[in-house]
Each structure stands twice: as structure tokens, then as C-alpha cells.
């Protein structure tokens, strides 16, 4: 029997079924690992040990009665952007100081419904704004991987779902929820050597998830395997009448799609993703991935997504614009932090100045600016037009191909003290991922290899809207071919 923390979700479900392990044993093993490693990694903001053991016990009881749900007994971490009833929810920010939601987000409620055990709330960039998990008010998360030639150098796990990715990579959770507004699932998954999928916009309900940019935000899982992602997404997804942008569509059998193979599939390779200065290792890995797929019977088709170069600037207009409005509710009046002031305006200014970190303030300022009278047409409206063009690029591509494969990130994980001076350098992390958000398409990051320093690198599979099945099929094929077995230095 493997160590409980090494089991994948698929393996653990089998082991639970065969009574080789109990939910309580699983939860205990992960809680021990968290106790040991979380002080170093800082992946969890809140650990709900007591609650986890209780629900694990209840899960074992259900299984004994033959009433186990699809995920019964699986220990998961929840990104601290999902509101959890009765458990503090921070969004990685001081402004929600002391906020305990009286409601459960739809996605986490769906996981609970299927029997999942929640270990705690995972660290993230403040309000999910960041690509390094360094903007969290609860301190940075450390990547459990390190460079072979400089093991002491502390690396970032990526962001904003850095806590989710680091926890799963270091075996502090079997899987985790995450959210992706511009790459916040796929980039940290790639940096931490795990898989993560941002499903189609509308696949998972946004109800109860602290909003960053409503037209881009989408919840998804991170887990060590593609199959585990498929299992988790099947529980998380589904129509929710409380979210008007949620899609009223049945949830397909994602897990069955993982092993489907790629024979006869047309895989697009967008020339515009060959950006200047891309690391040769990334370029080589990309080629390797395409070769694997060709060997499995896929046809590789060069395509053009001509508006790709405008995606990042478009994203950095649309996302801050929506964020500036979404974050207006954090005003110190009804919940969270309040800094008293001379009058209402003073209360707002003090509360928001103290409650929000520098990156959040920067984006609120950018968003306010691009929506202002006299600038709206030049920025926000223009960005909406470009967004439509980016969407059209993909629609035209789908006439020729069934999925698109690109690198997940332009580099491997960087160090905590790198890329700090210029926010724009940091924003470049999202260059391969934002397009899927702008077009609302599913995107999966799969670990596919290591760079020269032994750091994981990932490939990204983008699919048609609501065709996560093909994405899983392609991701599954890459995963099998890559046989990624490397493990991080810090691990339970």
C-alpha cells in the first residue's frame, strides 16, 4: 500500500472502496503533513482540522452504509476565494478581516454534496490578483520545487492559486479548488508540476466566489493527474440558477474522456505563441508535445490567432475595470475591516487604504481610470472590441482544428526576489493563458517535462467552448507520453 498522501484521487477512491484506507486515515495523514510542512510553504491560510476529521468520520459511516458519494472521503483544500459557511474567508486580503460567510459557494457545496473532506482554506494572491502569490496579505507561498543548482533559492508557486498548486504538489491536499481569471489555475499548476483546468466560462457557478473580474473568473480544480482533474471538475461543475452566466448544460463524463486518445484529432499550433525571447527549453518541450500527439495519431496543423499580441493589454484593461467595480463593496460599512474616519469619505479612504495591498490598489486605480469619462472609449470600449476579435480568431481556428496546444507559461517558476520591480514583467506570465479567459474557452495545463534546473514545465491544451472532453483527451495523451514522475524537494 502506497503512503496515503501519495495516492491520486482515483487511487484513493478505489482504496476507500476496498476498505484499504479510511477517510479518517486519509484526513489524518494530510493534516499531519500540513502541520509539518505548512509553516514552511504557507500554502494554507486556515486549517480546519477538527471539521475535516468530523466530516471524514461521517464519510466513513456513509461508505459503511453503502451510501458513499462520488468523492466521499477525498481530502481537498479550498482556495480562500470560495466562501465557506462558518469558516473564515479572506480572499488573501486584510479588507475582509474577520469575515465568516453565512453561506457556502456553489462549487464548494457541490464538492461537499459528493462527500469531499475540506482540510482548510488555501493561500492566494490578494483578490486573486497576481502571478506569484506574493500579494497575499497572509504572506507569500513557497514553491515546493527548487533549482538544482541553487536549492536554497526560494521560488514562487505562481499565482493566483499558488496555495492550491503548492499544497497539491507537496501532498498537503489530494486536490484543490482554484480560480482562473487570466491564468491563475494554469500558471501555478505548471510552476508546481501538477495539472489544472480552467473550464469553459459558465461551466462552474461563480456564486459565492469572491469576484475579481466577473466576465473572466472561472473556477476549476488542480490535482496531480489529468484524471483527478476530470473527477473533481465533474463534481464542481453544473448549472446554477443563482449565477446568470452559468450554462444550463449537462455535465459530461469527463473522466471517460481522459483515456479516449487523440487518433484523428487535429491539433492546432498557433504561430503567434512563438514569442520573442521564449526559453529554448520551452520551445523544445512544445515541439516534443506535438511529436507525442502526432505519434498517437493526431494531425498537427499550423494555425494563426492574429490578435494574440493584443490579448495581454486587453486583459489588463478589462480585468481591472471589472475589478474596480467589484471591489467597491469593500467599504467598511457592513462587514470586514473598518477604519473609522471623520466622515463617510474619510472612513472609505482609511478602510480601503489599509485593507487593500499595493497590487489591488494599482488595479483598482487602473480600472477606475479606463472606465472614466473621456477614457472609456479609448480603453474599455476598445478592449471590448479587441476581445471580440480574439474570440473570432478562435472561432475561425475551430473550423480547422479540434484543440490547440501551446506552452503553459513563458518560463519555469521564478524566484521570490525576481520580477518585483516592474509589474509589467510580472503580467507577462499570463501571455499564453489570458486568451482562453478572454474567449471563455477551456484550458488545461499538464506537466510535461523539466527544465535544466529540474523545474517542471507545462503544456496547455485549449479547446472549444464546452468541449472539455477533447481537452481532457489531449491532456491525457500528453500526460501518458510524458510520464512525468519527478517530485518536488519539499513533499510529505
Amino acid at each position: 500500500m502506497m503512503r496515503p498522501t501519495d495516492l491520486t484521487i482515483a487511487q484513493a477512491l478505489d482504496a476507500l472502496d476496498r476498505r484499504e484506507v479510511s477517510a479518517v486515515e486519509l484526513a489524518t495523514a494530510f493534516l499531519d503533513a500540513i502541520e509539518r510542512l505548512n509553516p514552511r510553504l504557507n500554502a494554507y491560510i486556515t486549517v480546519t482540522a477538527e471539521q475535516a476529521l468530523e466530516t471524514a468520520k461521517a464519510s466513513d459511516a456513509r461508505r459503511a452504509k453503502g451510501e458513499a458519494g462520488k468523492l466521499d472521503g477525498i481530502p481537498l483544500g479550498i482556495k480562500d476565494l470560495f466562501c465557506t459557511e462558518g469558516t473564515r474567508t479572506t480572499a488573501g486580503s486584510n479588507i475582509l478581516d474577520g469575515f465568516v460567510p453565512p453561506y457556502e459557494s456553489t462549487v464548494s457545496a457541490n464538492l461537499k454534496r459528493d462527500g469531499a473532506v475540506f482540510l482548510g482554506k488555501l493561500n492566494l494572491d490578494e483578490f486573486a490578483m497576481g502571478s506569484s502569490n506574493q500579494t497575499s496579505a497572509f504572506g507569500p507561498v513557497e514553491n515546493p520545487w527548487s533549482r538544482a543548482n541553487d536549492p536554497a533559492k526560494r521560488l514562487v508557486p505562481g499565482g493566483s492559486s499558488g496555495g492550491s498548486a503548492a499544497a497539491v504538489a507537496a501532498r498537503l491536499a489530494m486536490g484543490a479548488t482554484a480560480t482562473d481569471t487570466g491564468g491563475s489555475i494554469r500558471q501555478p499548476a505548471a510552476f508546481c508540476g501538477i495539472a489544472g483546468i480552467k473550464p469553459t466560462y459558465g461551466r462552474c457557478s461563480r456564486w459565492g466566489i469572491v469576484a475579481f473580474a466577473s466576465s473572466l473568473d472561472q473556477a476549476g480544480p488542480v490535482a496531480r493527474t489529468v484524471e483527478d482533474n476530470a473527477i473533481l471538475l465533474a463534481s464542481m461543475a453544473g448549472f446554477d440558477p443563482r449565477d446568470s452566466t452559468s450554462a444550463d448544460l449537462p455535465v459530461p463524463d469527463f473522466r471517460a474522456a481522459v483515456g479516449r486518445g487523440v487518433k484523428g484529432l487535429r491539433i492546432g499550433v498557433p504561430e503567434e505563441y512563438r514569442i520573442p525571447g521564449m526559453a529554448p527549453e520551452i520551445e523544445a518541450l512544445w515541439q516534443q508535445g506535438l511529436d507525442w500527439l502526432r505519434a498517437e495519431g493526431a494531425e498537427i496543423v499550423p494555425i494563426s490567432l492574429p490578435h494574440t499580441k493584443y490579448a495581454l493589454p486587453t486583459y489588463y484593461v478589462v480585468a481591472p475595470a471589472e475589478a474596480s467595480s467589484n471591489l467597491a463593496r469593500y467599504d467598511g460599512v457592513r462587514y470586514g475591516l473598518r477604519e473609522d474616519g471623520r466622515d463617510l469619505k474619510d472612513l472609505y479612504e482609511r478602510t480601503r487604504a489599509r485593507g487593500f495591498g499595493a497590487e489591488v490598489r494599482r488595479r483598482v486605480m487602473i480600472g477606475t481610470y479606463v472606465l472614466s469619462a473621456g477614457y472609456y472609449d479609448a480603453y474599455y470600449l476598445k478592449a471590448q472590441k479587441v476581445r471580440a476579435l480574439i474570440r473570432r480568431d478562435f472561432e475561425q481556428a475551430w473550423e480547422k482544428v479540434d484543440a490547440i496546444v501551446t506552452p503553459a507559461t513563458p518560463s519555469a517558476a521564478f524566484a521570490m526576489d525576481e520580477k518585483q520591480d516592474d509589474p509589467v514583467t510580472m503580467y507577462l506570465n499570463d501571455v499564453f493563458t489570458v486568451t482562453a479567459n478572454l474567449a471563455g474557452l477551456p484550458g488545461l495545463a499538464v506537466p510535461a517535462g523539466l527544465d535544466a534546473q529540474g523545474l517542471p514545465l507545462g503544456l496547455q491544451v485549449i479547446g472549444r467552448a464546452f468541449d472539455e472532453e477533447t481537452v481532457f483527451a489531449v491532456g491525457g495523451a500528453i500526460e501518458r507520453a510524458a510520464g512525468f514522475a519527478a517530485k518536488p524537494g519539499i513533499m510529505a
Binding site: T89, S325, Y335
Partner: protein, 482 residues
């Protein structure tokens, strides 16, 4: 005649446009399931959506959409099958989300028109620019504590229709008539209760003045006026202020003002420079609102008869313009009249309702909704007159009895023996008696004193305790005196 205000330098025309905020009649709020009843305990009708909690999302209430469409149809306006909700961003303590969801660029209802009738009987058409849906904010209470403000979020998220008129009104009377007409139409439709004292309807009044033949001058907006009378007063007060500014060589600045109802003047609230930049943009939580023409047609087919149509129908029944106007003013009055008139002579019914019945309501300080007499009983009274059981005079007596206790008039007639005498032999006997007693007057009459006829009628009726059928009494007298 054009309404003008006389300045020191000559007459000025007044140009008025109204933005009316009307609360949609619905059980739940525009984007949440919370209730909307007036007068509830503070903060007792608030969902997490209305309070702007993290992760909460708006979901459109279909009934509010239907109400807006009905109102649009009632205003003869274009219904936009594609509309969109935008966010209007500003900070205030009673605005929990930090933005109001409204329809800025693409309203649900476009251009329409309503016809108003003025006191001199003339009519005027006022253009409707648009109608859009938006959420109300909560309420700040600054007078509950010396250093604190209290917030009541019961109204937060309640659905409002903002109805914007063209600057087509030219006098306080026209502004008042327009507002009254809007209120009447919405009350007929059941889309807004029109209770201005409960804040269900309020108006922002845009006023400018100009010389005859000029283009528009700068306007000012008088915010949140909450009665028809105050709207009329505010128009005049603001117009007079602007005339004074222009005539003293100044320039009217575009600004938002408040009407001080106690002093009857408008006061500056904020100038154009202090105006908010609302940073409108499409609400990404709500997909565009797309309606099907078939659904709109269905709503249209289900609309009740509107005041204008009803008035025309009453006129066709032979009612006077005045009666038609008065009877259609309130939906409830019209319904009462219809029940009284059902299967009966409409003119007789109108005469009774606008005459004795309205007089009784005035006297008793009651309204049609708490009527002392049911429409059914009033109708039966008309039947008793039509079949000759009651004379007009007797009917008034029965009606007075009905006001005391809403009994069936037939029962009152029986109980009090008020049935009129239509037996001609009985009348003949009384007439003969009267003539015999007044032989001298009979002689005078026959020698040419025609006016004495009334005396004989009076004497006969007196002898019959008022129960003689007047027509028969006349007929018998004429015959006997011939």
C-alpha cells in the same frame, strides 16, 4: 394660450421635462428574492445580494421585466427586445455594492407618447424618451443619533422604472397633468401603485426658461420631488429663479437642485463640476436581456383597458366628456361604474354615480374602495326606478337609507312601504279628492292660470305621501282638468 411668466424684461416661456422614478409592483426585488413590502422593520427585507456580500450575484426577476414591458405598452412605446444592464458606480453608505445596476445605454423601452387633458378641455401629447429598469438604493437615516448614521437596506435592490419624458411640457399645469396621467396609466396596469407619500413615485424635474421662438437654454434638475402639487410648485419656483438670473445679467449654470417645500424655493445641491463620473459599463454578471416578440404580444393581449380607451368607450355610450373623464380617473371608480351600469342604461348609471353617489362619498369622506354602498345595490336601485317601482324622489330616499346600512334597495322599499303608486284608479281617486277640495283654484286654472298645475301635482303627491308615480299623476291631472 401659451403659459408665460412675466419678468422685468418681458414674458418667458418655461420648458419642462420629467424623469419619473416609479417603484415596480412586485413581490420580490429586481435581482433578489427579498420582499418589497412598505413599512417593514428596518433591514428585515434584505438578502445577501441586496447587502452586497462577497460572491453574491444578481438574477433578474422576470415579473419586474414583465411589469416594465406592460408599462411600456401602456405608454404606447417601443419595446426593445434586446436591452442590457449597466453598472453606475459611486460610493455611498446606503449603496452596498458600490454601484447601482441600471440600464444606461440600452433601455428596455424606447420612445412613446401619452396624451394629457388640460383644465380647459384641450389635449396635449407628451413624448416619452425611454423607460429603463434600475435598482433602488437603501436609505440613510441621519437623525437617529447625534454622531451616527443608520442604514436601512429594505429598499436596496427594489425595482424602479425610470420614465424619461421629452422636454415637451410648457407649464406647471402640463407637468402636473403629465405626472397624474403616468400615475393613472400605471395604476390601471397594476405596474406601480403610485403612492407618492410612500415614495413609490418621485420625479426629477428638469426646468429651463426661454424667450418665445428661442432654442433651449441651460436647464437645472430639481431632484426627488414627491407630489404632483410640489412638482407644479417646483417648476414655477425654479423658472422664476432662472428668469431672475438671466434678467440680472447672469447665466444659469447646469446643476442639481432640491425643492424646499417649506419655503417654496429651490436650493443648489451640487454643480456640474461636482457631478459624479459614474463610470457606466455593462454589468458582467448579467447577460443581455433578450425578449421574444411572442411573449411581448402575450403581455399586450393581457393588458387591461387603459384610461384613454375606456374614456372613448364611455363617450360612445353617450356619456358626457366630463362624466367619462371623472369615471375613468381611477381604475376603481371605473370598475364601480361598470358594475352599476352592467346591463342597464349607461347614462342613468353615470348620472347616479357622478351625482348622488359621489356627493355621498364627499359628505361621508369615503372613497370608492371603501364604498358605503355596493355597486350591486346601486344597480338594483336603478332597476327599481326603471321598472317604475320608485320615482326619482323615492329613489333618493331609498339611497339615503342604503347609506346607513348597505341593504338591498328592494328590501328597504318593502320594509318602509316606499313603493310608488302606479295604480291609476287609486291616483284618480286622490286627484278627484284634491280637485274637489280646491274647486276655486280649479276655476282659476281653467280661466288661464296655467301655473296652478304644479300646485295640483304637489297637493296630490302630498296626499299620497310622495308615492304617486309622477308621470301618472301628471297624466290624470291633465285629463281631469281638461
Amino acid at each position: 394660450m401659451t403659459y408665460t411668466l412675466e419678468g422685468t424684461t418681458g414674458p418667458w416661456e418655461v420648458v419642462i421635462g420629467l424623469e419619473v422614478h416609479a417603484q415596480v409592483t412586485s413581490q420580490a426585488k429586481l435581482f433578489s428574492g427579498a420582499a418589497t413590502a412598505f413599512g417593514a422593520e428596518p433591514n428585515s427585507q434584505v438578502s445577501f445580494v441586496d447587502a452586497g456580500f462577497p460572491g453574491m450575484l444578481p438574477v433578474i426577476n422576470a415579473e419586474c421585466i414583465a411589469q416594465a414591458v406592460r408599462t411600456g405598452l401602456g405608454l404606447n412605446a417601443e419595446i426593445h427586445l434586446w436591452s442590457r444592464f449597466d453598472r453606475k458606480n459611486y460610493f455611498y453608505a446606503d449603496l452596498p455594492q458600490g454601484y447601482q445596476i441600471s440600464q444606461y445605454a440600452h433601455p428596455i423601452v424606447g420612445q412613446g407618447a401619452v396624451e394629457v387633458t388640460l383644465a380647459d378641455g384641450s389635449t396635449k401629447t407628451i413624448g416619452i424618451t425611454r423607460l429603463h429598469l434600475e435598482q433602488d438604493a437603501g436609505k440613510s437615516l441621519h437623525d437617529q443619533h447625534p454622531t451616527k448614521s443608520y442604514i436601512d437596506l429594505n429598499r436596496s435592490g427594489v425595482a424602479l422604472m425610470e420614465i424619461v419624458s421629452e422636454p415637451d411640457m410648457r407649464s406647471p399645469e402640463e407637468a402636473g397633468a403629465y405626472l397624474a396621467k403616468l400615475r393613472q396609466i400605471m395604476r390601471y396596469l397594476g405596474t406601480c401603485d403610485g403612492n407618492m407619500d410612500e415614495g413609490s413615485m418621485r420625479a426629477d424635474v428638469n426646468v429651463s426658461v426661454r424667450r418665445a421662438g428661442e432654442g433651449y437654454r441651460t436647464r437645472c434638475e430639481v431632484k426627488n420631488v414627491n407630489s404632483i402639487r410640489f412638482v407644479m410648485q417646483a417648476v414655477e419656483a425654479e423658472a422664476r429663479r432662472q428668469i431672475e438670473v438671466w434678467e440680472s445679467g447672469g447665466t444659469v449654470e447646469q446643476e442639481t437642485r432640491l425643492f424646499d417645500t417649506a419655503r417654496g424655493v429651490t436650493r443648489s445641491m451640487r454643480s456640474k463640476e461636482d457631478a459624479h463620473d459614474y463610470r457606466y459599463f455593462p454589468d458582467p454578471d448579467l447577460p443581455p436581456l433578450v425578449l421574444e416578440q411572442g411573449w411581448v404580444d402575450q403581455l399586450k393581449a393581457g393588458l387591461p383597458e387603459l384610461p384613454d380607451q375606456r374614456r372613448a368607450r364611455y363617450a360612445a355610450l353617450g356619456l358626457s366628456a366630463y362624466d367619462a373623464q371623472v369615471l375613468t380617473a381611477e381604475r376603481e371608480t371605473a370598475a364601480f361604474f361598470e358594475e352599476v351600469a352592467h346591463g342597464r342604461d349607461a347614462k342613468a348609471a353615470a348620472n347616479w354615480v357622478t351625482g348622488d353617489y359621489f356627493a355621498a362619498l364627499n359628505r361621508l369622506k369615503r372613497t370608492v374602495t371603501d364604498s358605503p354602498v355596493s355597486a350591486k345595490h346601486l344597480g338594483e336601485l336603478l332597476d327599481l326606478m326603471a321598472d317604475g317601482t320608485l320615482s326619482g324622489k323615492l329613489a333618493k330616499e331609498v339611497f339615503e337609507a342604503m347609506l346607513e346600512a348597505d341593504e338591498a334597495p328592494g328590501a328597504i322599499v318593502e320594509k318602509r312601504g316606499l313603493r310608488q303608486v302606479t295604480d291609476s284608479s287609486a291616483i284618480e281617486a286622490v286627484v278627484d279628492e284634491v280637485l274637489a277640495k280646491n274647486a276655486d283654484k280649479v276655476a282659476d286654472y281653467r280661466s288661464g292660470k296655467d301655473k296652478l298645475f304644479g300646485f295640483f301635482v304637489g297637493q296630490t303627491m302630498k296626499a299620497m305621501a310622495g308615492k304617486g308615480n309622477p308621470a301618472l299623476v301628471n297624466e290624470v291631472l291633465k285629463r281631469r282638468l281638461a
